[in-house]
Symmetry: C2
Subunit: 425 residues, 2 copies
């Protein structure tokens, strides 16, 4: 092992030691720490902005594109947003210590299932420096120590932010080791971090599909694989077509670059001739490119104007576009729609538009995804929309948490058993 690797493992080990104290820290102390972080962020605004400007100078020199630069950039308002986010986390209920069930056994033993932290969470993330504050505060509130590994491009900003967090929690009486920030930007450290299942309980990757997949495939500890959504909306024979049009357009265009945006429209054959031309026109207005299967193509050939339409290739199904592109396919029945989604969906967000209660309930029951929608937009798969107060990730795992993950979803439980000398017969 290299010296650097030893250092990273030492950091994770220090986090593990601190996690034991953090797990038993009362809500009041954790909330004071979160408020202290918010105050310190605002007090150190200039320092943060100076570091961010240096990161931006380097990023421009390295030729990063406009989108990346925009995501990296902090200003007075974004700094205030970070402070407000920390205050918001302080205002949420403490999930730790919640008694999930309690019962007395025949033996007289009392059984209690209690919510506890996971321990140490590792987070690998890219670009946006606010993730440093978001994740550190979510982990603190949920009693988890954290090892943060941010992207090279924001290293100076993140270093300042992490130092603010560590100083603030120390003032509040939480060991500063509970938050670890990896200062080296050596890429080899990512792989090494993924092997530290002796000290890290859960990995959360936040970034591109490549990053998420890399973590999913290489992490020896459990990892949240999420953020990749191949999202379908099925327009049933019994759909209200006005609703269907508004829902599909919203799901595609309201924010096309995110995981819960629509990728594929499945249209029942009996309403395709009516629906598809209207869709093509609406997509045209919104600059959405349509990739049509051969049956849809034959319907759409006839219409003038509207969206750019090209014949779909096979890989246009099962693809997350993250852009103003949607594939469309005509299906003969809800069964064909269900089969298509079972084959091509990523278990993220799937929707049906139908006024037929039986079809709706069948779709909601039979589609295997974290969140299944009826008569609304897949864009609602979101922690804030679900009222979770904060979002760590959107999980497509089936074990542990599924769908939007808030504070409770980064906790575990333990059983406490209280007896009076009972022994087993």
């Amino acid at each position: 092992m290299t010296t650097t690797a030893t250092t990273l493992h030492d950091q994770a080990l220090a986090a593990r030691v601190a996690s034991r104290r953090l797990a038993a820290t009362p809500a009041g102390v954790k909330n004071s720490a979160l408020i202290a972080i918010a105050t310190a962020i605002e007090a150190n605004r200039e320092k943060i902005l100076v570091a961010n400007e240096k990161d931006l100078v380097a990023a421009r020199r390295d030729g990063l594109n406009f989108q990346m630069l925009d995501r990296m950039t902090l200003n007075a308002e974004r700094v205030k947003d970070m402070a407000d986010a920390a205050r918001n986390i302080a205002s949420l209920d403490d999930p730790i210590g919640e008694i999930l069930e309690s019962r007395d056994l025949a033996s007289g033993l009392n059984l209690e299932r209690v919510r506890v932290p996971l321990g140490v969470i590792g987070v690998i993330y890219e670009s946006r420096p606010n993730v440093t504050i978001d994740i550190a505060t979510l982990c603190l509130k949920s009693g988890n120590a954290v090892v943060l590994r941010g992207g090279k491009e924001c290293i100076l900003t993140n270093t300042v932010l992490a130092e603010i967090v560590k100083n603030s929690i120390e003032t509040a009486g939480i060991p500063r080791d509970a938050v670890q920030f990896v200062e080296s930007t050596d890429r080899a450290l990512v792989k090494e971090m993924l092997e530290m299942d002796d000290v890290i309980d859960l990995m959360i990757p936040r970034g591109s599909a490549d990053l998420v997949n890399f973590v999913g495939q290489n992490a020896k500890m459990p990892a949240i694989t999420g953020g990749v959504g191949v999202c379908h909306t099925y327009i049933d024979v019994d759909a209200k077509l006005d609703d269907a049009l508004a829902i599909v357009v919203n799901a595609k265009v309201q924010r096309p670059t995110v995981c819960n945006a629509l990728d594929t429209v499945l249209v029942h054959q009996a309403i395709a001739r009516q629906f598809l031309p209207e869709l093509a026109i609406e997509f045209g207005v919104n600059n959405v490119e349509l990739r049509a299967d051969s049956r849809s193509m034959s319907v759409l050939d006839a219409i003038a104007g509207g969206a750019k339409i090209t014949p779909a290739r096979s890989d246009d199904f099962g693809t997350e576009f993250l852009a103003l592109i949607a594939s469309v396919k005509i299906v003969d029945s809800i069964d064909e729609a269900l089969d298509h989604i079972a084959k091509y969906g990523s278990g993220h967000s799937e929707a049906i538009v139908s006024e037929n209660v039986e079809s709706v309930e069948r779709f909601l029951t039979e589609v295997d995804a974290g969140v299944v929608f009826a008569n609304t937009s897949t864009r609602f798969n979101d922690g804030a929309e679900f009222g979770l107060g904060a979002e760590v990730a959107i999980s497509t795992n089936k074990l542990h948490a599924r769908g939007p993950m808030g504070l409770k979803e980064i906790t575990s439980y333990k059983w406490k058993v209280r007896g009076q000398g009972q022994i087993r017969q």
Copy 2:
């Protein structure tokens, strides 16, 4: 890929297809299938016993030890136990479809979190043929398809049992593909099975620590790693010593070969001179060998009679003995006990004996394990004792289920969102 591997993957894929229908199968149908299995087991008793006798002949020829032969052996009573186990699972509540939470959002959307099956569960197990029935019935009841890979030694018995299960569920209207049994005993198939994360959602190893570790390290899908317990009992300065003695002896000797049996006794220094000699005598009566740290040794040196006592080597701490052996260590304080458990425990079952409420609560809160006990025996970490009705495994994972796993613990959830045309702003 070899032909055999293709076949196994085909089996798992068939299970995945069947799992979609099984997930939507009502409780009544599943229970009929379970009752049909019980009836068929009893009707085919002779056939089962003949196959088992052939397995036993081969096993004796291969020189398997008495313990293995005993675990493999079926007789009329054990066959009846299998049938009864299937009937018991039929009598339990169906976990699937349970609404875990429901709320209306400001947008008017209704949000429902519903319990669903995981999908396809892979199980690798050894020796006891009743595991075939136990696991198949637990999976059916929880709506999961299953791929069963039993040990070579029971291949003929397991093949007959699996055929009974498949025929019975088919009669009840469940696709026979929902239960897959791997007939080849080629060991290479285990490794290949662990790579099929495209079709298997969860792996459950049931068997030796070696098997559990192999699955934990090699499975590409999530795996339940459990069954390995390094279990401590800490005798506090405020312990009722009679209780402490009874609890420690029970935890060690009631069934020494299982995962929740005691491995290490930690004794507070202030009561060590009183407690340890009594323990040595009781352990002597029960043929338990004591491996004592140097401080305990100096206390125990003085006493005559009692257990065989040898100086503990460093690897006697952190070891699961699975035999009539226990290590013992004197600690200066509850803090030292907590540190020892944090270092050497496996997160399975840990106990304190103390009349001091503050010490008890501190121990229950600060020890990081699936089940933490106060004033009772670690032997109570068990699905039946917890009232779960049935047990899949005892998990030492921190994600998903922790501690004894019953039906609910092999399920997931999904969110169902019902709208009336809402779009996101």
